[in-house]
Symmetry: C2
Subunit: 195 residues, 2 copies
DNA sequence: GGAATATACTCATCGAGTGAGTAGCTGGAG
DNA sequence: CTCCAGCTACTCACTCGATGAGTATATTCC
């Protein structure tokens, strides 16, 4: 299909950076890094140099292209623009379901929601439901694994599995709160109550 | 204190490998990799070559030393042994509290419990309690962050924070199950109940 | 006898991530 | 009015994480 295998849990904010370019006018690395830390700072953590490295790779792969723009007094900017290939990859990533690992949901899925809200807001509720179903399936697998793990020799693998099960259950609870219509979001529903 | 800054959430199984050497006789990379995947496979995932790379780095840092042992018919083994420096670092890591991030607990903390159970079983309950307190403190910080995050412009940072809060709460619940005395572990307490 | 699996390790390559550096401009405190 | 902090904008060097393929012999099982 595409040159690259799949969208299974990218571990760098490359699609977030593509997304800023897909959802707005061409801009430069410094600004993209600022927006990443301002608007998705609880989701992604990339240093400035890391951001530039990712952008260089995206350009090497032909997903963005750049032109250097001199400025009167400030340093020159490398203005970045999405290529058609870049836009296609981004849209494909946005449409594909997130892998149901916990990290993937915390990071990729929230990013997808963020850009869906800006580009295709009508798709968001369906995305949440797809994730819920995927997470339920993974939860079931984990419980099967747990049942197949002997209590004595594998005590610590069991502990790890039990923790993952609890975490995934928490994810599903959280996903259920994401389906609440976002119209009057701040009025009635408080943050998740905790004792 | 030591040459390296701190034990804040190592992201490779280096201490697990040191631990196998600390808790047993000298052995070789192939065996260490097998034990890592068999006994802590739900905690760490390292390819074989990754394991060898880590061991090479540990040797370069002087934490292990190696001697090549020829065998009659099978490939030669590089027999690995903990140096005094390596043992000291491992014991220091075992005694230091795990950083309270979710990943750190799922990975580092379970590993510490695993080796504590083998080397200093009397310390385990205290370790759990220390983690619970640390996690409660982090939870409090997250809730403070959430309260300080505006609902409108920062909607997705809020979502991420809410998820982290739920996950950390799940971690604390799980930690509380770890304090149950491990004598009659398999009899009464089932796995975490899930609807 | 031939395929699969086990033993034991090596190498090349790429991406993640850090930290420091460069260098001119702007705004406010003293 | 001057100096320093901080902003704008990007670069470089380096280490570690991670994958995948390769090497070469030995046993096991059908």
């Amino acid at each position: 299909m595409s040159q690259h295998t799949a969208y299974t849990a990218s571990r760098s904010p490359e699609f977030a950076l593509l997304g800023f370019l897909a959802a707005g006018p061409p801009t430069h690395g410094y600004d993209l890094h600022r927006r990443l830390t301002d608007e998705l700072g609880q989701v992604w953590h990339a240093s400035q140099s890391q951001t530039y490295a990712i952008l260089a790779r995206l350009e090497a792969r032909g997903l963005v292209c750049s032109t250097v723009v001199e400025q009167a007094r400030l340093p020159a900017r490398r203005l970045l623009e999405l290529t058609p290939a870049g836009r296609a990859q981004f849209e494909a990533w946005l449409a594909a379901p997130t892998g149901a690992s916990i990290r993937a949901i915390r990071v990729d899925f929230i990013t997808r929601l963020y850009f869906a809200a800006r580009l295709h807001p009508e798709l968001a509720p369906g995305m949440v439901q797809v994730e819920i179903n995927a997470a339920r399936a993974v939860l079931h697998d984990l419980q099967t694994d747990l049942a197949a793990t002997p209590a004595v020799e594998q005590r610590f693998n069991r502990l790890a599995l039990e923790l993952r099960i609890r975490q995934l259950s928490a994810v599903i609870d959280w996903l259920n709160t994401c389906t609440i219509p976002e119209g009057d979001s701040h009025a009635t529903s408080g943050p998740p109550a905790l004792p």
